[in-house]
Protein backbone atom coordinates (compact mmCIF):
# COMPACT_ATOMS: atom_id res chain seq x y z
CA UNK A 1 0.00 0.00 0.00
CA UNK A 2 1.49 3.35 -0.96
CA UNK A 3 1.61 6.44 1.23
CA UNK A 4 -1.33 8.12 -0.50
CA UNK A 5 -3.52 5.06 -0.03
CA UNK A 6 -2.54 4.91 3.63
CA UNK A 7 -3.39 8.59 3.99
CA UNK A 8 -6.62 7.99 2.11
CA UNK A 9 -7.73 5.11 4.28
CA UNK A 10 -6.63 6.87 7.47
CA UNK A 11 -8.45 10.07 6.59
CA UNK A 12 -11.42 8.15 5.28
CA UNK A 13 -11.67 6.34 8.58
CA UNK A 14 -11.44 9.59 10.48
CA UNK A 15 -13.83 11.70 8.47
CA UNK A 16 -15.23 9.40 5.80
CA UNK A 17 -15.32 12.43 3.51
CA UNK A 18 -18.92 13.14 4.28
CA UNK A 19 -20.52 16.54 4.16
CA UNK A 20 -19.17 19.89 3.16
CA UNK A 21 -15.93 19.64 5.14
CA UNK A 22 -15.14 16.25 3.58
CA UNK A 23 -15.76 17.59 0.08
CA UNK A 24 -13.61 20.67 0.75
CA UNK A 25 -10.81 18.50 2.12
CA UNK A 26 -11.02 16.29 -0.95
CA UNK A 27 -10.88 19.35 -3.19
CA UNK A 28 -7.75 20.58 -1.43
CA UNK A 29 -6.07 17.17 -1.63
CA UNK A 30 -7.13 16.65 -5.25
CA UNK A 31 -6.05 20.02 -6.60
CA UNK A 32 -2.72 19.92 -4.74
CA UNK A 33 -2.01 16.39 -6.02
CA UNK A 34 -2.85 17.32 -9.62
CA UNK A 35 -0.56 20.37 -9.38
CA UNK A 36 2.23 18.29 -7.84
CA UNK A 37 1.99 15.61 -10.53
CA UNK A 38 2.00 18.13 -13.38
CA UNK A 39 4.83 20.12 -11.78
CA UNK A 40 6.77 16.86 -11.52
CA UNK A 41 6.01 16.17 -15.19
CA UNK A 42 7.38 19.63 -16.05
CA UNK A 43 10.53 19.31 -13.95
CA UNK A 44 11.22 15.74 -14.92
CA UNK A 45 10.51 16.69 -18.54
CA UNK A 46 13.13 19.43 -18.31
CA UNK A 47 15.55 17.00 -16.71
CA UNK A 48 14.88 14.56 -19.55
CA UNK A 49 15.60 17.25 -22.11
CA UNK A 50 18.94 17.98 -20.46
CA UNK A 51 19.72 14.26 -20.17
CA UNK A 52 18.92 13.61 -23.82
CA UNK A 53 20.85 16.67 -25.00
CA UNK A 54 23.90 15.54 -23.03
CA UNK A 55 23.90 11.76 -23.39
CA UNK A 56 21.80 10.92 -26.42
CA UNK A 57 22.77 13.45 -29.06
CA UNK A 58 20.87 12.99 -32.27
CA UNK A 59 22.35 10.67 -34.79
CA UNK A 60 22.59 12.56 -38.02
CA UNK A 61 20.49 10.70 -40.48
CA UNK A 62 20.75 11.52 -44.09
CA UNK A 63 17.42 12.56 -45.42
CA UNK A 64 16.28 10.15 -48.12
CA UNK A 65 16.81 11.72 -51.42
CA UNK A 66 14.67 11.17 -54.44
CA UNK A 67 16.48 8.34 -56.14
CA UNK A 68 14.38 8.06 -59.20
CA UNK A 69 14.96 9.21 -62.67
CA UNK A 70 11.64 10.46 -63.87
CA UNK A 71 11.25 13.55 -61.76
CA UNK A 72 10.80 15.90 -64.63
CA UNK A 73 7.14 16.43 -63.81
CA UNK A 74 7.92 18.05 -60.43
CA UNK A 75 10.72 20.19 -59.04
CA UNK A 76 13.46 18.73 -56.86
CA UNK A 77 12.07 20.13 -53.60
CA UNK A 78 8.63 18.62 -54.18
CA UNK A 79 10.20 15.32 -55.17
CA UNK A 80 12.22 15.25 -51.95
CA UNK A 81 9.16 16.10 -49.85
CA UNK A 82 7.20 13.25 -51.47
CA UNK A 83 10.13 10.88 -50.95
CA UNK A 84 10.35 11.81 -47.27
CA UNK A 85 6.60 11.40 -46.82
CA UNK A 86 6.67 7.94 -48.41
CA UNK A 87 9.68 7.05 -46.28
CA UNK A 88 7.87 8.07 -43.08
CA UNK A 89 4.60 6.37 -43.97
CA UNK A 90 6.17 3.09 -45.04
CA UNK A 91 8.79 3.02 -42.30
CA UNK A 92 11.64 3.20 -44.80
CA UNK A 93 10.42 0.28 -46.87
CA UNK A 94 8.69 2.23 -49.58
CA UNK A 95 10.48 3.63 -52.60
CA UNK A 96 9.27 6.25 -55.03
CA UNK A 97 9.99 5.20 -58.57
CA UNK A 98 8.13 7.83 -60.50
CA UNK A 99 5.90 10.85 -59.98
CA UNK A 100 3.18 11.69 -62.44
CA UNK A 101 0.80 14.60 -62.43
CA UNK A 102 -2.76 13.41 -62.92
Amino acid sequence: MNSLSILASATANAQEFEGLSGALLLMAIGMVTVFIVLLLVIYVGNALIMFVNKFVPEETKEAPKASFASVQSVDAVTANVIAQAVNTLTGGKGKVESIKKI
Partner: protein, 467 residues
Protein backbone atom coordinates in the same frame (compact mmCIF):
# COMPACT_ATOMS: atom_id res chain seq x y z
CA UNK B 1 -59.32 -8.00 -39.62
CA UNK B 2 -57.63 -10.08 -36.95
CA UNK B 3 -54.55 -10.26 -39.11
CA UNK B 4 -54.55 -6.49 -39.51
CA UNK B 5 -54.89 -6.13 -35.75
CA UNK B 6 -51.94 -8.49 -35.23
CA UNK B 7 -49.89 -6.57 -37.75
CA UNK B 8 -50.75 -3.36 -35.93
CA UNK B 9 -49.83 -5.00 -32.63
CA UNK B 10 -46.48 -6.01 -34.11
CA UNK B 11 -45.55 -2.40 -34.80
CA UNK B 12 -44.36 0.13 -32.25
CA UNK B 13 -47.09 2.61 -33.23
CA UNK B 14 -49.43 1.76 -30.36
CA UNK B 15 -46.78 2.11 -27.66
CA UNK B 16 -45.41 5.27 -29.23
CA UNK B 17 -48.83 6.93 -29.21
CA UNK B 18 -49.62 5.74 -25.66
CA UNK B 19 -46.28 6.89 -24.28
CA UNK B 20 -45.18 10.16 -25.91
CA UNK B 21 -42.03 10.17 -23.74
CA UNK B 22 -40.55 7.78 -26.31
CA UNK B 23 -41.16 10.42 -28.95
CA UNK B 24 -39.26 12.95 -26.82
CA UNK B 25 -36.23 10.67 -26.83
CA UNK B 26 -36.53 9.98 -30.56
CA UNK B 27 -36.72 13.73 -31.20
CA UNK B 28 -33.61 14.17 -29.04
CA UNK B 29 -31.84 11.55 -31.16
CA UNK B 30 -32.78 13.46 -34.32
CA UNK B 31 -31.38 16.68 -32.84
CA UNK B 32 -28.11 14.96 -31.92
CA UNK B 33 -27.89 13.42 -35.40
CA UNK B 34 -28.47 16.85 -36.92
CA UNK B 35 -25.70 18.33 -34.78
CA UNK B 36 -23.32 15.54 -35.74
CA UNK B 37 -24.09 15.33 -39.46
CA UNK B 38 -25.02 18.86 -40.46
CA UNK B 39 -23.17 20.96 -37.89
CA UNK B 40 -20.17 18.64 -37.73
CA UNK B 41 -19.98 18.57 -33.91
CA UNK B 42 -17.49 15.75 -33.38
CA UNK B 43 -19.30 13.40 -35.79
CA UNK B 44 -17.12 10.38 -35.00
CA UNK B 45 -18.48 10.46 -31.47
CA UNK B 46 -21.87 12.12 -31.68
CA UNK B 47 -23.28 10.12 -34.58
CA UNK B 48 -22.84 6.66 -32.96
CA UNK B 49 -24.24 8.07 -29.68
CA UNK B 50 -27.22 9.67 -31.42
CA UNK B 51 -27.96 6.53 -33.40
CA UNK B 52 -27.71 4.49 -30.20
CA UNK B 53 -30.32 6.81 -28.63
CA UNK B 54 -32.56 6.37 -31.67
CA UNK B 55 -32.54 2.57 -31.81
CA UNK B 56 -32.86 2.25 -28.02
CA UNK B 57 -36.14 4.12 -27.88
CA UNK B 58 -38.45 2.05 -30.04
CA UNK B 59 -40.70 -0.11 -27.85
CA UNK B 60 -40.27 -3.77 -28.66
CA UNK B 61 -36.85 -3.32 -30.21
CA UNK B 62 -34.96 -4.50 -27.10
CA UNK B 63 -32.01 -2.32 -28.03
CA UNK B 64 -32.08 -0.12 -24.94
CA UNK B 65 -29.62 -0.76 -22.11
CA UNK B 66 -31.72 -1.58 -19.07
CA UNK B 67 -31.40 0.54 -15.97
CA UNK B 68 -30.29 -1.41 -12.89
CA UNK B 69 -30.50 -0.47 -9.24
CA UNK B 70 -27.54 0.14 -6.94
CA UNK B 71 -26.81 -3.56 -6.49
CA UNK B 72 -27.16 -4.44 -10.16
CA UNK B 73 -30.67 -5.92 -10.13
CA UNK B 74 -33.15 -5.83 -12.97
CA UNK B 75 -36.80 -6.70 -12.28
CA UNK B 76 -39.33 -8.06 -14.67
CA UNK B 77 -42.97 -8.52 -13.81
CA UNK B 78 -45.15 -11.42 -14.88
CA UNK B 79 -48.17 -10.72 -17.04
CA UNK B 80 -50.36 -12.08 -14.23
CA UNK B 81 -48.92 -9.55 -11.80
CA UNK B 82 -49.41 -6.78 -14.29
CA UNK B 83 -53.04 -7.74 -14.83
CA UNK B 84 -53.86 -8.26 -11.15
CA UNK B 85 -51.84 -5.34 -9.85
CA UNK B 86 -48.87 -5.49 -7.53
CA UNK B 87 -50.65 -4.44 -4.37
CA UNK B 88 -50.19 -1.49 -2.08
CA UNK B 89 -47.00 0.45 -2.36
CA UNK B 90 -45.95 -0.77 -5.78
CA UNK B 91 -46.30 0.76 -9.15
CA UNK B 92 -44.60 -0.19 -12.35
CA UNK B 93 -43.26 1.92 -15.16
CA UNK B 94 -43.13 1.32 -18.86
CA UNK B 95 -40.40 -1.15 -19.65
CA UNK B 96 -37.92 -0.52 -22.39
CA UNK B 97 -39.13 -3.52 -24.32
CA UNK B 98 -42.63 -2.12 -24.45
CA UNK B 99 -44.46 -3.87 -21.60
CA UNK B 100 -47.39 -1.67 -20.72
CA UNK B 101 -47.75 -0.59 -17.14
CA UNK B 102 -48.86 2.40 -15.16
CA UNK B 103 -46.63 5.41 -14.64
CA UNK B 104 -44.99 5.82 -11.26
CA UNK B 105 -45.76 8.70 -8.99
CA UNK B 106 -42.95 10.99 -7.92
CA UNK B 107 -42.81 9.89 -4.27
CA UNK B 108 -41.96 6.32 -5.21
CA UNK B 109 -38.40 5.06 -5.32
CA UNK B 110 -37.14 3.20 -8.36
CA UNK B 111 -35.84 -0.31 -7.96
CA UNK B 112 -34.85 -1.64 -11.33
CA UNK B 113 -37.97 -1.35 -13.42
CA UNK B 114 -40.27 -1.18 -10.40
CA UNK B 115 -41.20 1.69 -8.20
CA UNK B 116 -41.98 1.08 -4.56
CA UNK B 117 -43.16 3.16 -1.68
CA UNK B 118 -40.61 2.79 1.14
CA UNK B 119 -43.07 4.07 3.75
CA UNK B 120 -45.03 0.80 3.59
CA UNK B 121 -43.69 -1.85 5.95
CA UNK B 122 -42.11 -4.80 4.21
CA UNK B 123 -41.18 -2.90 1.08
CA UNK B 124 -37.63 -2.13 2.20
CA UNK B 125 -36.42 -5.43 0.89
CA UNK B 126 -38.22 -6.19 -2.30
CA UNK B 127 -37.32 -9.86 -2.35
CA UNK B 128 -39.12 -10.49 0.94
CA UNK B 129 -42.57 -9.59 -0.30
CA UNK B 130 -45.05 -12.15 -1.54
CA UNK B 131 -44.78 -10.91 -5.07
CA UNK B 132 -41.49 -12.68 -5.56
CA UNK B 133 -43.13 -15.42 -7.61
CA UNK B 134 -44.51 -12.87 -10.00
CA UNK B 135 -41.43 -10.72 -10.19
CA UNK B 136 -38.35 -12.12 -11.81
CA UNK B 137 -35.19 -10.66 -10.36
CA UNK B 138 -32.02 -10.71 -12.45
CA UNK B 139 -28.68 -10.10 -10.78
CA UNK B 140 -26.85 -8.58 -13.70
CA UNK B 141 -23.41 -9.08 -12.15
CA UNK B 142 -23.97 -12.79 -11.65
CA UNK B 143 -25.38 -13.45 -15.12
CA UNK B 144 -23.22 -15.03 -17.81
CA UNK B 145 -22.87 -12.79 -20.84
CA UNK B 146 -24.77 -15.16 -23.14
CA UNK B 147 -27.71 -15.00 -20.72
CA UNK B 148 -27.61 -11.21 -20.83
CA UNK B 149 -27.68 -11.37 -24.63
CA UNK B 150 -30.56 -13.87 -24.56
CA UNK B 151 -32.69 -12.11 -21.94
CA UNK B 152 -32.04 -8.45 -22.64
CA UNK B 153 -30.82 -8.24 -26.23
CA UNK B 154 -27.54 -7.71 -27.98
CA UNK B 155 -27.05 -4.08 -26.92
CA UNK B 156 -27.04 -5.06 -23.24
CA UNK B 157 -24.50 -7.75 -24.10
CA UNK B 158 -22.21 -5.18 -25.72
CA UNK B 159 -22.72 -2.75 -22.84
CA UNK B 160 -21.98 -5.22 -20.06
CA UNK B 161 -19.17 -7.03 -21.87
CA UNK B 162 -17.26 -3.97 -23.02
CA UNK B 163 -18.23 -1.01 -20.87
CA UNK B 164 -19.44 -2.23 -17.50
CA UNK B 165 -16.54 -4.66 -17.41
CA UNK B 166 -14.27 -1.60 -17.61
CA UNK B 167 -12.56 -2.88 -20.77
CA UNK B 168 -13.20 -0.06 -23.22
CA UNK B 169 -12.00 3.02 -21.28
CA UNK B 170 -8.34 1.88 -21.02
CA UNK B 171 -8.48 0.54 -24.59
CA UNK B 172 -9.67 3.92 -25.84
CA UNK B 173 -6.95 5.61 -23.81
CA UNK B 174 -4.42 3.44 -25.63
CA UNK B 175 -5.83 4.65 -28.95
CA UNK B 176 -5.83 8.26 -27.75
CA UNK B 177 -2.19 7.83 -26.71
CA UNK B 178 -1.32 6.45 -30.13
CA UNK B 179 -2.92 9.50 -31.73
CA UNK B 180 -1.31 12.01 -29.37
CA UNK B 181 1.88 13.88 -30.09
CA UNK B 182 3.66 15.00 -26.93
CA UNK B 183 6.01 17.14 -29.06
CA UNK B 184 4.07 20.41 -28.58
CA UNK B 185 3.87 19.75 -24.85
CA UNK B 186 7.62 19.07 -24.59
CA UNK B 187 8.35 22.25 -26.53
CA UNK B 188 6.13 24.28 -24.18
CA UNK B 189 6.47 22.32 -20.97
CA UNK B 190 5.58 25.22 -18.68
CA UNK B 191 2.13 25.47 -20.23
CA UNK B 192 1.36 21.96 -18.95
CA UNK B 193 0.54 23.45 -15.55
CA UNK B 194 -2.70 24.85 -16.98
CA UNK B 195 -3.88 21.26 -17.23
CA UNK B 196 -4.09 21.37 -13.44
CA UNK B 197 -6.10 24.59 -13.22
CA UNK B 198 -8.75 23.12 -15.47
CA UNK B 199 -9.49 20.32 -12.99
CA UNK B 200 -11.10 22.91 -10.71
CA UNK B 201 -14.57 22.14 -12.08
CA UNK B 202 -14.30 18.51 -10.94
CA UNK B 203 -13.78 19.37 -7.30
CA UNK B 204 -16.08 22.41 -7.27
CA UNK B 205 -18.99 20.31 -8.53
CA UNK B 206 -18.06 17.57 -6.06
CA UNK B 207 -18.73 20.05 -3.27
CA UNK B 208 -22.01 21.28 -4.77
CA UNK B 209 -23.28 17.80 -5.64
CA UNK B 210 -22.51 16.48 -2.17
CA UNK B 211 -24.83 19.20 -0.81
CA UNK B 212 -27.60 18.47 -3.32
CA UNK B 213 -28.68 14.99 -2.32
CA UNK B 214 -25.95 12.93 -3.98
CA UNK B 215 -23.81 10.79 -1.68
CA UNK B 216 -20.06 11.31 -1.94
CA UNK B 217 -19.49 8.44 -4.37
CA UNK B 218 -22.26 9.67 -6.64
CA UNK B 219 -21.00 13.25 -6.32
CA UNK B 220 -17.49 12.09 -7.30
CA UNK B 221 -18.84 10.29 -10.37
CA UNK B 222 -20.87 13.32 -11.39
CA UNK B 223 -17.97 15.69 -10.82
CA UNK B 224 -15.54 13.75 -13.01
CA UNK B 225 -17.58 14.85 -16.04
CA UNK B 226 -15.66 18.11 -15.55
CA UNK B 227 -12.51 16.27 -16.63
CA UNK B 228 -13.97 16.35 -20.16
CA UNK B 229 -12.74 12.86 -20.75
CA UNK B 230 -15.33 10.21 -21.58
CA UNK B 231 -13.21 7.13 -20.79
CA UNK B 232 -12.08 8.66 -17.49
CA UNK B 233 -15.68 9.46 -16.54
CA UNK B 234 -16.80 5.91 -17.32
CA UNK B 235 -13.86 4.36 -15.49
CA UNK B 236 -14.41 6.47 -12.37
CA UNK B 237 -18.17 5.90 -12.32
CA UNK B 238 -17.67 2.15 -12.63
CA UNK B 239 -15.54 2.27 -9.50
CA UNK B 240 -17.68 4.68 -7.48
CA UNK B 241 -21.32 4.58 -8.57
CA UNK B 242 -21.94 2.02 -11.33
CA UNK B 243 -25.71 2.54 -11.19
CA UNK B 244 -25.18 6.07 -12.52
CA UNK B 245 -23.05 5.00 -15.46
CA UNK B 246 -25.68 5.55 -18.16
CA UNK B 247 -26.52 9.20 -17.52
CA UNK B 248 -22.92 10.09 -16.65
CA UNK B 249 -21.53 8.52 -19.82
CA UNK B 250 -24.18 10.30 -21.85
CA UNK B 251 -23.48 13.65 -20.18
CA UNK B 252 -19.68 13.26 -20.50
CA UNK B 253 -19.76 12.30 -24.16
CA UNK B 254 -22.46 14.78 -25.11
CA UNK B 255 -20.51 17.65 -23.58
CA UNK B 256 -17.29 16.43 -25.21
CA UNK B 257 -19.10 16.52 -28.53
CA UNK B 258 -20.41 19.97 -27.68
CA UNK B 259 -16.97 21.41 -26.85
CA UNK B 260 -17.25 23.65 -29.97
CA UNK B 261 -20.25 25.28 -28.29
CA UNK B 262 -19.26 25.27 -24.61
CA UNK B 263 -15.68 26.63 -24.84
CA UNK B 264 -16.66 29.69 -26.95
CA UNK B 265 -19.53 30.35 -24.53
CA UNK B 266 -17.34 30.33 -21.40
CA UNK B 267 -14.55 32.23 -23.16
CA UNK B 268 -16.99 34.91 -24.29
CA UNK B 269 -18.27 35.33 -20.75
CA UNK B 270 -14.88 35.49 -19.07
CA UNK B 271 -12.25 36.89 -21.45
CA UNK B 272 -11.71 40.33 -22.95
CA UNK B 273 -10.79 41.04 -26.57
CA UNK B 274 -7.30 42.19 -25.49
CA UNK B 275 -6.66 38.93 -23.65
CA UNK B 276 -7.81 36.81 -26.57
CA UNK B 277 -5.60 38.83 -28.93
CA UNK B 278 -2.38 37.92 -27.08
CA UNK B 279 -0.21 36.58 -29.88
CA UNK B 280 1.85 33.66 -28.61
CA UNK B 281 4.43 33.73 -31.42
CA UNK B 282 5.12 37.42 -30.77
CA UNK B 283 5.51 36.62 -27.09
CA UNK B 284 7.99 33.90 -28.07
CA UNK B 285 9.96 36.41 -30.12
CA UNK B 286 10.00 38.89 -27.23
CA UNK B 287 10.95 36.25 -24.67
CA UNK B 288 12.61 33.39 -26.56
CA UNK B 289 12.97 30.00 -24.91
CA UNK B 290 16.50 28.94 -23.97
CA UNK B 291 15.73 25.25 -24.24
CA UNK B 292 17.19 23.46 -27.24
CA UNK B 293 16.18 20.02 -28.45
CA UNK B 294 18.98 17.89 -29.85
CA UNK B 295 17.11 14.63 -30.12
CA UNK B 296 13.35 14.99 -30.01
CA UNK B 297 12.72 11.36 -30.97
CA UNK B 298 14.65 10.00 -27.99
CA UNK B 299 12.86 12.50 -25.77
CA UNK B 300 9.47 11.39 -27.04
CA UNK B 301 10.34 7.76 -26.31
CA UNK B 302 11.61 8.45 -22.80
CA UNK B 303 8.73 10.78 -21.88
CA UNK B 304 5.83 8.26 -21.75
CA UNK B 305 7.96 5.80 -19.81
CA UNK B 306 8.90 8.49 -17.29
CA UNK B 307 5.38 9.89 -16.87
CA UNK B 308 3.98 6.39 -16.37
CA UNK B 309 6.53 5.77 -13.64
CA UNK B 310 5.79 9.08 -11.87
CA UNK B 311 2.01 8.62 -11.95
CA UNK B 312 2.29 4.97 -10.91
CA UNK B 313 4.25 6.00 -7.84
CA UNK B 314 2.05 8.93 -6.81
CA UNK B 315 -1.47 7.87 -7.85
CA UNK B 316 -1.52 4.13 -8.64
CA UNK B 317 -5.30 4.20 -9.13
CA UNK B 318 -4.79 6.30 -12.25
CA UNK B 319 -2.34 3.89 -13.83
CA UNK B 320 -4.84 1.83 -15.81
CA UNK B 321 -5.71 4.97 -17.75
CA UNK B 322 -2.36 6.78 -17.83
CA UNK B 323 -0.47 3.53 -18.38
CA UNK B 324 -2.51 2.64 -21.44
CA UNK B 325 -2.34 6.22 -22.73
CA UNK B 326 1.44 6.20 -22.47
CA UNK B 327 1.73 2.69 -23.90
CA UNK B 328 -0.21 3.81 -26.96
CA UNK B 329 2.07 6.81 -27.29
CA UNK B 330 5.22 4.75 -26.79
CA UNK B 331 4.44 2.34 -29.64
CA UNK B 332 3.82 5.36 -31.84
CA UNK B 333 7.10 7.05 -30.97
CA UNK B 334 9.33 3.99 -31.19
CA UNK B 335 8.74 3.99 -34.91
CA UNK B 336 9.34 1.22 -37.41
CA UNK B 337 9.78 -1.69 -35.04
CA UNK B 338 6.34 -1.20 -33.47
CA UNK B 339 4.58 0.46 -36.38
CA UNK B 340 2.20 -2.50 -36.79
CA UNK B 341 1.10 -2.19 -33.17
CA UNK B 342 0.70 1.55 -33.60
CA UNK B 343 -1.41 1.12 -36.73
CA UNK B 344 -3.67 -1.39 -34.99
CA UNK B 345 -4.05 0.69 -31.81
CA UNK B 346 -4.72 3.96 -33.59
CA UNK B 347 -6.98 2.63 -36.35
CA UNK B 348 -8.53 -0.81 -35.94
CA UNK B 349 -8.87 -0.98 -32.17
CA UNK B 350 -9.65 2.71 -31.67
CA UNK B 351 -12.34 2.80 -34.35
CA UNK B 352 -13.93 -0.45 -33.19
CA UNK B 353 -13.94 0.75 -29.59
CA UNK B 354 -15.45 4.10 -30.58
CA UNK B 355 -18.29 2.44 -32.51
CA UNK B 356 -19.23 0.07 -29.69
CA UNK B 357 -18.82 2.72 -27.02
CA UNK B 358 -20.83 5.33 -28.90
CA UNK B 359 -23.71 3.01 -29.75
CA UNK B 360 -24.00 1.40 -26.34
CA UNK B 361 -23.61 4.69 -24.43
CA UNK B 362 -26.36 6.12 -26.64
CA UNK B 363 -28.48 3.07 -25.91
CA UNK B 364 -28.34 3.82 -22.18
CA UNK B 365 -30.35 6.96 -22.90
CA UNK B 366 -33.76 5.36 -22.61
CA UNK B 367 -37.01 6.87 -21.37
CA UNK B 368 -36.65 5.12 -18.00
CA UNK B 369 -33.07 6.16 -17.45
CA UNK B 370 -33.13 9.65 -18.86
CA UNK B 371 -36.45 11.30 -18.16
CA UNK B 372 -36.16 11.54 -14.39
CA UNK B 373 -35.01 14.21 -11.97
CA UNK B 374 -31.76 12.55 -10.94
CA UNK B 375 -30.57 12.20 -14.53
CA UNK B 376 -31.53 15.78 -15.27
CA UNK B 377 -29.52 16.75 -12.14
CA UNK B 378 -26.55 14.79 -13.49
CA UNK B 379 -26.79 16.46 -16.89
CA UNK B 380 -27.05 19.92 -15.31
CA UNK B 381 -24.26 19.18 -12.81
CA UNK B 382 -22.07 17.82 -15.59
CA UNK B 383 -22.53 21.00 -17.58
CA UNK B 384 -21.51 23.07 -14.53
CA UNK B 385 -18.46 20.85 -13.99
CA UNK B 386 -17.49 21.26 -17.64
CA UNK B 387 -17.96 25.01 -17.63
CA UNK B 388 -16.17 25.46 -14.30
CA UNK B 389 -13.19 23.44 -15.53
CA UNK B 390 -12.81 25.75 -18.52
CA UNK B 391 -13.25 28.73 -16.18
CA UNK B 392 -10.62 27.32 -13.78
CA UNK B 393 -8.06 27.04 -16.58
CA UNK B 394 -8.82 30.57 -17.80
CA UNK B 395 -8.50 31.96 -14.25
CA UNK B 396 -5.11 30.29 -13.79
CA UNK B 397 -3.91 31.85 -17.06
CA UNK B 398 -5.15 35.26 -15.93
CA UNK B 399 -3.43 34.93 -12.55
CA UNK B 400 -0.23 33.86 -14.33
CA UNK B 401 -0.45 36.95 -16.56
CA UNK B 402 -0.59 39.20 -13.50
CA UNK B 403 2.91 38.13 -12.48
CA UNK B 404 4.67 37.03 -15.67
CA UNK B 405 6.35 39.18 -18.30
CA UNK B 406 5.62 36.68 -21.03
CA UNK B 407 1.84 36.80 -21.34
CA UNK B 408 -0.28 33.74 -22.01
CA UNK B 409 -3.42 33.75 -24.11
CA UNK B 410 -6.21 32.60 -21.72
CA UNK B 411 -7.40 30.17 -24.39
CA UNK B 412 -4.41 28.05 -23.40
CA UNK B 413 -5.87 27.86 -19.91
CA UNK B 414 -9.28 26.95 -21.32
CA UNK B 415 -7.80 23.96 -23.12
CA UNK B 416 -6.43 22.55 -19.87
CA UNK B 417 -9.65 20.62 -20.08
CA UNK B 418 -9.07 17.25 -21.79
CA UNK B 419 -11.08 16.58 -24.99
CA UNK B 420 -7.92 16.22 -27.10
CA UNK B 421 -7.51 17.61 -29.73
CA UNK B 422 -10.95 19.11 -30.19
CA UNK B 423 -10.56 21.69 -27.43
CA UNK B 424 -7.29 22.92 -28.99
CA UNK B 425 -8.84 23.16 -32.43
CA UNK B 426 -11.75 25.18 -31.07
CA UNK B 427 -9.40 27.46 -29.12
CA UNK B 428 -7.27 27.98 -32.24
CA UNK B 429 -10.37 28.97 -34.22
CA UNK B 430 -11.34 31.49 -31.54
CA UNK B 431 -7.82 32.98 -31.49
CA UNK B 432 -7.81 33.32 -35.29
CA UNK B 433 -11.06 35.29 -35.13
CA UNK B 434 -9.36 37.95 -33.03
CA UNK B 435 -6.01 37.87 -34.82
CA UNK B 436 -5.73 35.99 -38.15
CA UNK B 437 -2.00 35.45 -37.53
CA UNK B 438 -2.37 34.08 -34.01
CA UNK B 439 -2.06 30.29 -34.38
CA UNK B 440 -2.24 28.95 -30.82
CA UNK B 441 -2.85 25.27 -31.66
CA UNK B 442 0.60 24.03 -30.62
CA UNK B 443 0.51 25.97 -27.36
CA UNK B 444 -3.01 24.79 -26.57
CA UNK B 445 -2.00 21.18 -27.24
CA UNK B 446 0.47 21.43 -24.38
CA UNK B 447 -2.16 22.26 -21.76
CA UNK B 448 -4.69 20.03 -23.53
CA UNK B 449 -2.50 16.92 -23.28
CA UNK B 450 -1.57 17.85 -19.72
CA UNK B 451 -5.31 18.03 -19.05
CA UNK B 452 -5.64 14.36 -19.98
CA UNK B 453 -2.97 13.50 -17.42
CA UNK B 454 -4.54 15.88 -14.89
CA UNK B 455 -8.06 14.47 -15.22
CA UNK B 456 -6.77 10.91 -14.94
CA UNK B 457 -4.89 11.87 -11.78
CA UNK B 458 -8.03 13.58 -10.40
CA UNK B 459 -9.97 10.40 -11.17
CA UNK B 460 -7.32 8.39 -9.34
CA UNK B 461 -7.69 10.68 -6.31
CA UNK B 462 -11.47 10.29 -6.27
CA UNK B 463 -11.20 6.51 -6.57
CA UNK B 464 -8.50 6.37 -3.85
CA UNK B 465 -10.46 8.41 -1.34
CA UNK B 466 -14.04 7.53 -2.12
CA UNK B 467 -13.85 4.06 -3.69
Amino acid sequence: MEILSKIYGMTAIDNLTCYPSYLVMIALAFVLLYLGIKKGFEPLLLIPIAFGVLIANFPGGEMGVLAVNGVGEIFRISNEALQNGLGDGFQTVTLVNGVEASQASSNFIQVGQLFYDPSIEGNEILKNVDLVSQIKVYDIWAMPLHDIAHEFGIMNYIYYALIKSGLLPPIIFMGVGALTDFGPMLRNLKLAIFGAGAQFGIFAVLIVASQCGFDMKEAGSLAIIGGADGPTAIFTTLKLAPHMLGPIAIAAYSYMALVPVIIPLVVKLTCSKEELSINMKEQDKLYPSKTEFKNMQALKILFPITVTTIVAIIVPDAISLIGMLMFGNLIKEIGNSTSRLFQTASNGIMNTATIFLGLSVGATMTVDAFLNLKTIGIVAGGFCAFGLSIFGGICLAKIYNLFAKKKINPLIGATGLSAVPMASRVANDIALKYDPKNHVLNYCMSSNVAGVIGSAVAAGILISFLG
